[in-house]
């Protein structure tokens, strides 16, 4: 009985997100949109195009590339950027790459260096003062507590006890030296709203979201796709073909799929309405530091 997304409600969410994007464009010095290639990023980009139509999107997009994303994601990213004439920055932490960090072997260190550190480096390098992210409050408990405009100090860390009050639609964008903002225009959207909107607006997303026969292994209760030959099989693991799709996308060895027959947006939306587990269950990286892993990573500067 998780219910459905309603038409009026979706339009309200759409207007709110557009308003937020226009505020950032009008009030911040150097904004950027973090583009993760996932469904939330696709929705965010679609909204940005609407917000400034017929002008082009007035800020660049940036992807933090760990080099372990699914191949299909990278292809999709480059094609979307090309077709839309977007200013796309791709940033990789070269130091981490040189040290050959591996998502499976190095676990938390990998996430810290290739994602959190990489993001901080990239923001500093370009001097961005505001970064849009696709985070939603329904994803996780500490996200549910975050403001739409969230302040980061010069070290990019978040202080959850010192959040600025956010009243009505009056967003405070004033920054001190070195400070920057994270802005979440999709804060009030749920996973269902995202799919309902993708369906309504016919937004293109990475095909990994739709069920297809894919080579996978079972690992720690997760279905992991073998996307390239960098993936080392553990003893007893066997590659098999399964009809799977992904609810969230990230580094392929850290992203669990689900068995499903939903092969288009409508079927996925219907499945989402009846889902029994939250979408974060398929993120391997959430589990490692207990209940507050997300809050901890966010304080350190993870998006």
């Amino acid at each position: 009985m998780i219910g459905t997304s309603n038409k009026e409600h979706l339009s309200r969410l759409e207007s709110e997100a557009i308003y937020i994007m226009r505020e950032v464009a009008a009030e911040t010095e150097k904004p950027v949109m973090l583009y993760s290639i996932g469904k939330d990023s696709s929705v965010m980009l679609h909204l940005a195009k609407k917000a400034f139509y017929p002008e082009p999107v007035p800020f660049p997009l940036m992807h933090i590339d760990t080099t372990w994303k699914f191949k299909e994601m990278t292809e999709f990213r480059d094609r979307i950027a090309r077709e839309n004439g977007l200013d796309l920055i791709v940033y990789t932490n070269e130091e981490g790459l040189r040290r050959g960090l591996d998502p499976v072997r190095d676990g938390a260190v990998y996430t810290d260096v290739m994602k959190t550190e990489a993001l901080k480096q990239a923001l500093d390098k370009y001097g961005f003062t505001a970064a849009f992210g696709g985070g939603r409050r329904d994803e996780e408990k500490s996200r549910a507590k975050e403001r739409i405009f969230s302040l980061r100090n010069a070290h990019h860390t978040w202080e959850p006890r010192m959040q600025r009050p956010e009243l009505w639609d009056l967003y405070n964008t004033r920054l001190g030296p070195g400070e920057s903002l994270r802005v979440f225009p999709l804060s009030n959207w749920t996973e269902r709203d995202i799919w309902a909107y993708i369906l309504r607006e016919n937004i293109e997303v990475v095909p990994l979201y739709f069920a297809k026969d894919r080579p996978v292994v079972m690992r720690g209760g997760n279905i992991i796709m073998v996307d390239d030959d960098r993936m080392e099989l553990l003893p007893g693991e066997k590659v098999e073909m399964k009809k799977v799709r992904f609810r969230t996308l990230g580094c392929y060895p850290l992203t669990g799929g689900i068995e499903s027959d939903a092969s288009d947006a409508e079927a996925v939306y219907r499945e989402t309405c009846g889902a029994v587990n939250s979408e974060r269950t398929s993120r391997v990286i959430d589990g490692d530091a207990g209940v507050f892993s997300m809050e901890k990573r966010k304080k350190e500067g993870y998006f």
């Binding site: 997304s5 002008e55 329904d138 996200r143 009050p165 009056l170 209940v291």
Partner: protein, 609 residues
């Protein structure tokens, strides 16, 4: 009926807000299986000793679990067959009142919890007052913990009548009172068998069916967020905050009240014939007017455009609000400097009585008069919500220090019209054959401002100029004898000096002022009052060590001994001018020589005679 509802839960700490929402989600099967599993696991390891602790579903920060309290707002999203809901669960502690206010600002309805055993508390009343101030029109009073009160009808009716009294003066609001138990689930989603005497709806039934009325705001209003440029046209972008707009409509643009015709309307990136409240639009006008962010488009209604207003305020900063302080005020898409002219009264959260106060501390409510440094387009909050609500930003910390709602524009600003005299400032200046202006000396105590100003005045007088020297100590012994040295009094001291200088300039006189004036903001205020063209900032840059060595009045040694708190340069900062007209260091020569040099420079820069 609207297919969504944004509501909040509030009330005192331990009245069971998080538990209620947790139970609502759990009962209505609105949890995912992994969240439910996590709940069972966490409940076992927490103090609930194996009983399901529904509040764990909402308290998402580690500090909250550690202390067993809610610190910040948590948002939950759920939907039933009838409606989508966004619910904000808020902290009950007085300490975190501002976070509760955040939720109130975005909610259409408030569920206010009252502990059946403990009854209505101060915090209950405080929350109710804040919800009202934020504009909430619908309330559910959830009388919780009825299980602990033996499901007694008498207890419920007692609280109900207390609430009736509390809300008797609230106009145009809808109130529902429901007895329930968040812990046991009575009247949350299922009708309670323990309270057969109650015939009203369950909480969920009510939330699903309550009417959220269409807005009663007058006419069309849209604050301009930004201007889009394409094909040589300007697109005015913003969200419609009230009413509707169609192609061909005549609109009025504030400030200035110019008229124009709507040529094109675009809603969320698609061309349309019309747009309504809440929609994100781009509007093109047939006339090419110079409109930018902060302008407001309106139709069939009238907005105010003036600089003084009276407002209700909720203060949220650690540093108390005091008269004379200056903040940034953000209202719709405008952002202006504003001074706290007067704290009219504080509001007692318990009784609602007016209190005479000098300062308003964190979480305090007050009624204040505000003076904006430039005209502001606004309206009363009752008439146009988006045009009558604002936040105050501390310019140093950048924090959102307070929020408020406009009661009305102060007539004073509108009714006091500057009297135009036949003998003008220009005529008086001409009679004295000089260009009146103010030479504003600023610098540390002992930097040589007064000495230098005195020497300069002698030179000017010898050349037949009509001058007046306003000196710090002299003014403080006379017109400003009522002022001390706290922040407010220092600001007021400078304001009065600036007003006096301006009057003298109007009389044709060249004014020299010698005040430490350590704050950039105060010097900016002086410049604004006197007028930028008539104002020259002279920074006497003698270093602190030299001033302290001279210590003409013996003040530095007193300050070092801790006898004078807030002494500039020792206990209080001096903000060096960013763009002074002249910089002069008195260690480089004797006063008469320096004054001669200064006069030469001023003559070159300004037309003094």
């Amino acid at each position: 009926m609207a297919d969504f509802l944004r509501f909040m839960t509030c009330g005192s700490v331990d009245d069971g807000k998080s538990t209620l929402i947790g139970h609502l989600l759990y009962d209505a099967k609105m949890l995912f299986a992994d969240q439910e599993r996590a709940l069972e696991l966490e409940s076992m390891s927490s103090d609930a000793q194996g009983e399901r602790d529904y509040s764990l579903l909402l308290d998402g920060l580690s500090a909250e679990r550690e202390q067993g309290i809610t610190i910040d707002v948590a948002y939950r999203y759920f939907a039933t067959e009838k409606r989508s809901f966004i619910v904000a669960d808020t902290p009950g502690h007085e300490e975190y009142t501002r976070n509760m206010a955040v939720a109130a600002s975005e909610s259409e309805l408030a569920v206010l919890l009252i502990d059946a055993v403990r009854g209505v508390r101060v915090q209950t009343k405080r929350h109710l007052r804040i919800c009202r101030m934020m504009g909430i029109k619908k309330y559910v009073f959830a009388v919780n913990k009825m299980d602990a009160a033996g499901y007694s009808e008498d207890v419920f009716r007692g609280i109900e009548s207390e609430l009736r009294e509390l809300t008797s003066e609230m106009e145009r609001v809808r109130i529902e009172t429901i007895p329930l138990s968040a812990l046991k689930g009575d009247n949350v989603t299922l009708r309670s068998e323990n309270m057969p005497w109650y015939c009203g709806p369950t909480l969920l039934d009510y939330l699903e069916d309550v009417q959220v009325e269409a807005s009663d705001e007058e006419g069309f209003v849209m604050p301009v967020q930004r201007v889009n440029r394409f094909d040589g046209k300007r697109g005015l972008q913003g969200n419609v905050s009230s009413g509707e707009i169609r192609m061909g409509d005549e609109i009025v643009i504030y400030p200035g009240e110019a008229c124009a015709t709507v040529d094109a309307v675009n809603v969320s990136g698609e061309n349309a014939d019309e747009a309504a409240k809440g929609q994100a639009v781009t509007i093109c006008l047939s006339e090419d007017l110079d409109i930018s962010r902060g302008y407001v488009l309106a139709k069939d209604t009238e907005l105010k455009c003036t600089d003084m207003l009276e407002a209700k305020l909720l203060w949220m900063d650690e540093e108390a609000l005091a008269e004379g302080r200056t903040y940034l005020l953000k209202l719709a898409t405008q952002c202006v400097n504003v001074s706290i002219l007067k704290i009219k009264y504080g509001i007692d959260p318990d009784s609602g009585k007016h209190l005479a106060v000098k300062k308003v501390g964190k979480n305090g409510l007050a009624c204040v008069d505000l003076s904006c440094h430039e005209d502001l387009v606004f309206d009363s909050f009752d008439k146009h919500r988006a045009m009558g609500r604002f936040i105050l930003i501390d310019k140093v910390s950048g924090n959102t220090a307070g929020c408020g709602t406009v009661k009305f524009a102060l007539r004073r600003a509108e009714n006091l019209k500057r009297q135009e005299h036949d003998i003008t400032r220009e005529a008086r200046a001409k009679a004295l054959s000089q260009t009146p202006m103010t030479l504003w000396f600023t610098g540390l105590s002992g930097s040589g401002k007064s000495v230098l100003a005195n020497e300069l005045e002698k030179i000017m007088a010898s050349r037949g100029m009509h001058t007046m020297l306003l000196d710090g100590d002299n003014v403080r012994l006379g017109i400003n004898r009522d002022l001390g040295f706290n922040d407010y009094d220092r600001t007021e001291n400078i304001r009065r000096v600036a007003e006096i200088a301006k009057l003298m300039n109007d009389a044709g006189i060249i004014v020299l002022t010698a005040f430490i004036s350590p704050f950039e903001e105060d010097r900016e205020t002086a410049k604004r009052i006197i007028g930028g063209d008539s104002f020259a900032e002279i920074y006497v840059s003698t270093p602190l060590e030299e001033c302290e060595r001279r210590d003409v009045k013996g003040l530095y040694s007193k300050a070092r001994a801790g006898e004078i708190p807030n002494f500039t340069g020792i206990g209080s900062p001096y903000e060096i001018p960013k763009n002074p007209d002249v910089v002069i260091d008195t260690t480089e020569g004797d006063a008469a020589e320096m004054a001669e040099m200064l006069f030469g420079e001023l003559k070159e820069r300004f037309e003094l005679k």
